[in-house]
């Protein structure tokens, strides 16, 4: 019975974690999967989002998640700017791979070091009404004084719900609006877009902005779930790309499934092998995915 509850808890925790990962990775599904821009600095912008939520929350007590949606236009603008630089320095010249990778790596590094210079290397947290509460369900009395139950900590449940709603809206937006369909077309047929009088560069620029706006929100969700420190960003690089590759690159729905798989895998590793092994899981899955099924689980 205890093992059953251990497994049940691991499944629930894994799915909740997967919700967070989906938010963190869906931006990469847009930039890397659809636009073919390998933005390895994406996790750095997630951490930036965490810190903005942290500053506003610790100084004025505002809700971190609401804050992140309010400031997401700033991330969007940052994305426009970054894509501009990327476009003029690399994409236009056709030197996409080597130097642009180094460029984004530099951006990742600069963001991290600046955050360290300002905030130091201490872990930071936020507080909101839901961060301390845990709901317990499926209670089962083993003996009169010990009960087994499945934990639903609200600090995980709230980000999960927000993430799922956001991704649902994003998916609807991409498949039902002209802009969304143009983004999907940008990867496949730029020529057709030009014939329709759409500038692919403009489309890519805005879509990239969108991916950073999502990163900002994901950052707030992250700091609700766990304390954040500037250099944890790079630990998530393997994770977000693993989710993106597992999910079949440019598919938002695929990314959600990939994120759930990863969440479950990490949760089970933490439960049965110890939390210190968890960071290796995403890498292992990434490597397996890349080596054996690069087109993703639902490959095109």
């Amino acid at each position: 019975m205890e093992t059953t509850y251990l497994i049940l808890n691991a499944i629930v925790a894994g799915l909740l974690l997967g919700g967070l990962y989906a938010a963190m990775a869906s931006g990469v599904s847009i930039s890397f999967g659809m636009l073919d821009v390998t933005n390895i600095a994406h996790p750095a912008f997630i951490i930036l989002g965490s810190y903005i939520a942290y500053i506003v929350n610790s100084n004025w007590g505002f809700d971190p998640i609401v804050t992140s949606f309010v400031v997401s236009p700033l991330f969007y603008l940052l994305g426009l700017l970054l894509y501009r630089v990327y476009y003029y320095a690399f994409e236009r010249k056709g030197q996409q791979s080597l130097r642009s990778l180094a460029f984004f790596f530099g951006i990742l590094f600069i963001t991290e070091v600046v955050l360290i210079l300002i905030f130091g290397v201490d872990y930071r947290l936020v507080s909101a009404a839901y961060t301390e509460k845990t709901i317990q369900i499926a209670q089962y009395a083993m003996t009169p004084d010990s009960t087994l139950h499945v934990d639903l900590p609200l600090r995980m449940v709230v980000p999960f719900v927000v993430s799922m709603v956001m991704i649902f809206a994003l998916n609807w937006f991409l498949s039902h609006t002209f802009f969304g369909r143009a983004v999907l077309a940008v990867a496949q047929d730029q020529f057709a877009l030009r014939l329709m009088g759409v500038d692919p560069v403009k489309i890519k620029e805005r879509a990239f902005g969108l991916s950073l706006a999502i990163a900002g929100v994901a950052g707030a969700l992250l700091i609700v779930v766990q304390p954040v420190q500037p250099s944890i960003g790079r630990d998530f690089i393997g994770l977000v790309f693993a989710v993106c590759v597992l999910g079949g690159m440019g598919s938002i729905k695929g990314a959600v499934v990939g994120a759930m798989i990863l969440g479950l895998a990490e949760s089970f590793t933490s439960t049965f092998a110890g939390p210190s092994w968890a960071p290796a899981v995403s890498f292992g899955l990434l490597l397996l995915a890349v080596a054996f099924k690069p087109s993703g689980l639902f490959g095109r």
């Binding site: 390998t38 390895i40 630089v85 320095a89 030197q95 791979s97 080597l98 130097r99 990778l101 180094a102 460029f103 790596f105 530099g106 951006i107 590094f109 600069i110 991290e112 070091v113 600046v114 360290i116 210079l117 250099s231 790079r234 630990d235 690089i237 393997g238 790309f241 693993a242 590759v245 110890g274 210190s276 092994w277 960071p279 290796a280 995403s282 890498f283 292992g284 990434l286 490597l287 890349v290 080596a291 690069p294």
Partner: protein, 325 residues
């Protein structure tokens, strides 16, 4: 301009290295040796990175992992048999790191280059996790590696010996890079960098050459790490896997210039020295910021690095002379 043949180049480099080593004996204090050791470490790491990055066009973000593999090979051997000569550790570390490079390459190099790069980024995280959980080499707490009291070959203090070894290893790394660069293999790598499909269709065995270059590059990075435990005498995962190794080994060749062995050397000496100065005068966080900013600036504004700027300058000078005559 006639290129020097490798038969001349090898003795020249070792000769210069020896002269440099002898000159260092005039150094006023021990700080010089430790600063110079660090710069030499970066000479090796950036030369090694450039074999895959500059010559072949594949970005390795996992320098720290390969470096740490060399370092932890030394730690493991030291724990097992403390009296083992350094040369054994160097060779073992090269083997471990080289084979890891080969394995990584075999798994990811059939695909587009970005997948290899992302995989190397994640490699650092997993190797870190592995070492943190490996108690034999000290786990997260770290381990002491005490250098023998008497250095071999009559060097007196061990730091002098380590420094001499590092000079020799740097010279070797540059020679390896130069030999690859001037050989048929180098021509093949260059073809892969320019256009992999065309290279394959010109008879270049692209997969095999890419694997060769990840292996050599990884082995040299591991080599750089093998002496590190004796240098710091206390090894722990967080500093050994420091991301600054990856950033520096990418920034240095990019800033120096990636097409020849000279670029990484210039980049490493320049950036390495600046960092040593900034670290002492300001702080280590600031020096990392400088590296990051320089990397981004060079890659966007002067993508061919200092060597590229120099060639452009020479070309303009020549054009001016031509116009004047």
């Amino acid at each position: 301009m006639q290129k020097m043949s490798n038969k001349v180049f090898i003795p020249v480099v070792y000769g210069v290295a020896l002269a440099f080593g002898l000159l260092s004996m005039l150094a006023p204090n021990d700080y010089f040796y430790s600063a110079a050791y660090t710069v030499l470490l970066f000479v090796i790491l950036s030369s090694a990175w450039n074999i895959l990055g500059g010559y072949t066009g594949y970005v390795n973000f996992g320098t720290a992992a390969f470096f740490a593999m060399g370092a932890y090979t030394t730690v493991a051997i030291f724990k097992f048999a403390p009296g083992t000569p350094l040369i054994v550790m160097i060779i073992a570390g090269m083997l471990v790191a080289g084979l890891t490079g080969l394995g990584m390459g075999a798994l990811t190099l059939r695909l587009r280059g970005v997948f290899f790069s992302i995989a190397t980024l994640a490699l650092s995280v997993v190797m870190f996790t592995f070492v943190v959980n490996w108690d034999y080499v000290g786990g997260a707490r770290g381990a002491y590696v005490i250098a023998p009291r008497v250095a071999p070959l009559g060097f007196g203090r061990y730091i002098y010996f380590l420094y001499a070894v590092m000079i020799f290893l740097s010279a070797t790394a540059m020679i390896v890079a130069r030999i690859i660069e001037t050989s048929t293999i180098g021509r093949g790598l260059e073809a892969i960098r320019d256009d992999e499909l065309a290279a394959e269709c010109c008879g270049v065995p692209t997969l095999r050459l890419k694997l060769l270059s990840t292996t050599i590059s990884g082995a040299l990075m591991g080599m750089a790490g093998t002496t590190y435990p004796y240098f710091v005498s206390y090894v722990e995962p967080a500093s050994t896997f420091n991301l600054s190794y990856a950033v520096n080994s990418i920034a240095m060749p990019l800033i120096g210039g990636m097409t020849t062995w000279v670029g990484p050397l210039i980049g490493a000496v320049l950036l390495g020295t600046v960092q040593q100065v900034v670290q002492v005068t300001i702080s280590s966080a600031w020096n990392l910021l400088i590296v990051g900013v320089l990397l981004v600036l060079f890659v966007t504004l002067a993508p061919e690095g200092i060597m590229g700027l120099w060639y452009d300058f020479r070309k303009k000078q020549r054009a001016k002379k031509g116009a004047a005559q």
